[in-house]
């Protein structure tokens, strides 16, 4: 789920930031340290700084985690590999001591979370949870705001679960049972009609980053706020191509979204 305050709506309406119909991508993880008011043995706060999804910060109770970063402008917090939804937890997100959202998110599921807000310069980000839960990944940074919307024909990541099935039937035709095994959330994200200069300045650094680390993607925030993924990029380089129309370029990414526990 992606959350944003009304002030961001105003900025988008004024053209200060691209329309919220356009994708928001968070590939920066600028925090360098993390501490918390509570930690369970083996699950320290520092685990949220790692991009993997099999280690967590587990406070075991209501607690606050504080991430510190070199003072700079940021506009997004990404949270993945969490169970805030299934734990019924409400999270309060603050940057530099100031809440960045109008309402504290109480997620209804464990899908990745993005909170985007008007850019602010800060050196601390805090996430306060009001109950026991676990959080695996936290990114803090500036989003890549796409200046064009994503392709219209795309599979919403929230529907993209791929599962393998084994169905048992006996010789006499009796149904014996079914076993399923989750695979992942594969989907394709693509953009076109991007000016070449803009592509070099903004897209290329992003594509270099995804060679080594996952990223957060909200494909169409205002239309589909649930469509948020924590994505592992493909096992090959993504290369933007000229469209042959003016100086426009296009690219697409074969993505694998992290499937949350309750998928």
């Amino acid at each position: 789920m992606i959350y944003w305050p009304n002030t961001l709506n105003a900025q988008a309406n004024q053209g200060v930031v691209p329309s919220l119909k356009h994708s928001r991508i968070l590939y920066q993880s600028l925090a360098s340290n993390a501490t918390a008011t509570a930690e369970t043995d083996g699950y320290p706060a520092a685990n949220v700084l790692k991009p993997d999804t099999y280690s967590w910060w587990i406070p075991g109770e209501a607690a606050t985690i504080t991430l510190t970063l070199p003072s700079q402008s940021i506009n997004c917090i990404g949270i993945a590999a969490h169970n805030l939804g299934s734990s019924g937890v409400t999270a309060t997100l603050s940057v530099g001591g100031v809440n960045v959202l109008d309402d504290d998110p109480s997620p209804s599921d464990d899908m990745p979370i993005m909170a985007v807000f008007p850019a602010v310069t800060a050196d601390t980000v805090t996430i306060a949870v009001d109950g026991a839960c676990r959080i695996g990944v936290v990114y803090v940074g500036r989003t890549l705001d796409m200046i064009q919307p994503a392709y219209n024909e795309h599979t919403p990541v929230s529907f993209a679960a791929r599962t393998s099935y084994l169905s048992g039937e006996s010789v006499s035709g009796q149904w014996l049972g079914r076993t399923v095994e989750r695979v992942n959330r594969p989907f394709t994200a693509g953009w076109s009609h991007l000016p070449e200069n803009w592509t070099y300045a903004h897209v290329v650094p992003f594509l270099r980053s995804i060679r080594t680390a996952p990223f957060f993607l909200a494909q169409r925030p205002s239309g589909y706020p649930r469509d948020v993924a924590y994505v592992m990029g493909p096992n090959e380089d993504v290369i933007p191509a000229r469209m042959g129309v003016r100086d426009y370029m296009e690219f697409s990414i074969e993505c694998t979204g992290h499937a949350e526990a309750s998928a």
């Binding site: 083996g42 084994l166 039937e169 079914r178 399923v180 992942n184």
Partner: protein, 593 residues
């Protein structure tokens, strides 16, 4: 049972860890780099104390992951979270060789095995490194991977176990089915992937380091004649003279064809390596005393005085092999032996180093039982070879999965006559020669030979069997089981029938089996292999027809009716005396089992 469930598979490596700290007494290591509390990095092996362990846990990359880390207060016992780098798990189940009679297979049948594949990822030693804060910084552009580090720190994995967990999302690990293996190798492949191999514990009984008795380099010191009782020997390792090989207080040592008994050995002077044997008995164990020359090679002899067969097997496994004795449910073994095979008190002499697996294989073949590794129970189980009156359960075509069934025949493993040679003339004589045995008992199934038009013979040369009754029962057991063409059935069942276990006897109703009149023939089959082909979904069974020539029953209570008044069920399960012609009311009489 829920109709649809999401399955999950994990693999756990149990690695022993030292519970000492680097350079802290009694550890005398110094100079660094600090160890990783594993034997591969230990710099003070004499003090390595494997009282701790770390359980490395792995799951498939897309598995439903839950937190599972745990650590003891002292940090010596650790279990990691599931690391999602397991790419594949392939297992092959053990296959039982009933009576050790199937040709081309060891008496233990086919041992189970495990192969697992992993992807490899950069690893930051986030778990289990006490000295992580003191390590030098790693170049971020040249990070070592998990398996590169694991292999570098653990060149030897024979002391580790692998456990495969199969279960469903929502279950705890304790609720999941577990299959256990002993590791044989872990290979790191260029930082991209790794592989792991494991086998069941019975495999190690055939290893080169599992001999009974082990080779003992001992020499006679000084000439002796046939009556000399003052005997001295030269021996480098005093354990070769003092270690126990068998179950007697008296120890034995062979020189040429003679076996000498002794009670103890004392070094004449410290550091000389010359020992004087005390309590010397010449021509021990029915050998012949002779003269022997100085420097003649000598070899410790293993000897078991009369005892139940399971005591010998247990001693061989627990004290003369690398198999973890905790895998042996000895109380269960005793129950099988005492209740069903009480007449097999045996004794034997092992005059030269012999593989433990071979010795146990002799005993299982000759004492009407078999042992096998049950990877789910994580036990070396024992079962008696005997007819059963009622099967352990039944399956029909409502249970057999539509993945294909096959029926095979093995015409090679037929025995219409079995001869057992026993009572060796010389305890140091060869086991494969008629000339070295003074007794022989055989069992012949003439009807089978006539029916098959052939005589198939098996000769067994036994160092263990002592009585004609034992020999007859042993020979009869094999003959009655194998005197007809062995049939094997392969089929699959759903995990809902998870109750089926190796060695179970089950009734199978399938259209594959027909009588001569074309009617379905519902028969008993013994499960000799159970393979979790698709864990938590499909189980492949290999069944051996459970056919004994004859009619068998159980001893009945005192107030049971006579045959003429018995119900069909009582006649099927009970046992009644036959007439002098071997018939009972004109029908086939019962065989004593």
């Amino acid at each position: 049972m829920t109709f649809t469930r999401e399955r999950i598979q994990l693999l756990e490596i149990v690695q022993p860890r030292c519970d000492l700290r680097y350079g802290v007494s009694p550890c005398t290591a110094s100079g660094g780099p600090n160890c990783y509390n594993c034997i591969g990095t230990c710099q003070d092996l004499a003090n390595f104390a494997s009282n701790g362990e770390i359980r490395w846990r792995f799951c498939k990359p897309n598995a439903h992951i839950e937190p599972y880390y745990s650590a003891s207060v002292d940090g010596n016992t650790i279990a990691t979270d599931w690391i999602p780098i397991l790419s594949s798990v392939s297992t092959s189940a053990s296959k039982i060789n009933i009576s050790g009679a199937r040709k081309g297979e060891s008496p233990f049948g086919v041992t189970a095995s495990l192969s697992a594949g992993f992807i490899d990822v950069p690893w930051d030693d986030r778990v289990g490194d006490y000295y992580r804060g003191t390590r030098p910084a790693i170049d971020p552009d040249d990070k070592p991977t998990f398996w590169q580090l694991f292999v570098a720190r653990n060149p030897y994995v024979g002391d580790m176990r692998a456990i495969v967990y199969d279960g469903y999302v929502g279950q705890t690990m304790a609720e999941m089915t577990r299959r256990e293996y002993v590791l044989t190798a872990i290979t790191s492949n260029d930082g991209q992937s790794a592989s792991l191999d494991g086998v069941d514990p019975l495999q190690s009984l055939g290893d080169d380091d599992a001999y009974f008795p082990r080779t003992t380099p001992i020499q006679l010191y000084g000439d002796i004649n046939s009556t000399t009782t003052s005997v001295q020997v030269y021996c480098v390792n005093p354990d070769d003279l003092s270690d126990v090989f068998g179950n007697t207080a008296r120890k034995y040592i062979r020189i040429n064809d003679e076996i000498i008994g002794y009670s103890s050995a004392t070094e004449t002077a410290p550091g000389t390596g010359i020992y004087t044997l005390s309590g010397v008995v010449r021509d021990a164990l029915e050998s012949t005393a002779d003269s022997h020359s100085d420097e003649t090679a000598m070899q410790r002899v293993g000897h078991y005085a009369r005892t139940m067969f399971y005591n010998i097997e247990h001693d061989l496994i627990a004290n003369h092999s690398r198999v973890d004795a905790s895998y042996v449910p000895f109380a269960d073994w005793q129950a099988v032996g005492d209740e069903e095979l009480a007449y097999y008190q045996i004794e034997g002499t092992v005059h030269e180093p012999t593989k433990v697996g071979d010795l146990i294989g002799e005993i299982v073949q000759q004492c009407e039982h078999y042992i096998f590794w049950n990877e789910r129970a994580r036990e070396i189980q024992m079962a008696a070879i005997k007819p059963v009156v009622a099967p352990d359960g039944s399956i029909t075509e409502n249970d057999i999965m539509n993945t294909g069934q096959t029926l095979d025949h093995d015409p090679d493993s037929i025995y219409t006559r079995v001869f057992l040679y026993y009572r060796r003339n010389s305890p140091t004589g060869n086991l494969d020669g008629l000339a070295n045995f003074s007794r022989m008992t055989g069992f012949i199934d003439g009807d089978a030979a006539q029916e098959l038009g052939t005589r198939q013979e098996l000769s067994i040369f036994s160092r263990w069997i002592r009585t004609s009754t034992q020999a007859l029962l042993s020979a009869a057991s094999i003959t009655l089981r194998y005197s007809r063409v062995q049939r094997y059935m392969n089929l699959s069942i759903h995990v809902k029938d998870d109750w089926v276990e190796p060695s179970d006897v089950i009734s199978v109703d399938t259209k594959l089996m027909r009588t001569s009149e074309g009617v379905r023939d519902v028969r008993n089959w013994q499960v000799i292999q159970r393979e979790d082909k698709e864990p938590q979904f499909r189980i492949d069974l290999k069944l051996q027809e459970f056919a004994y020539r004859g009619r068998y029953g159980n001893w009945m209570a005192d107030d049971s009716p006579d045959y003429v008044d018995a119900t069909d069920a009582e006649r099927a399960e009970g046992c009644f005396w036959a007439d002098n012609d071997g018939l009972i009311d004109g029908e086939e009489g019962y065989r004593w089992q």
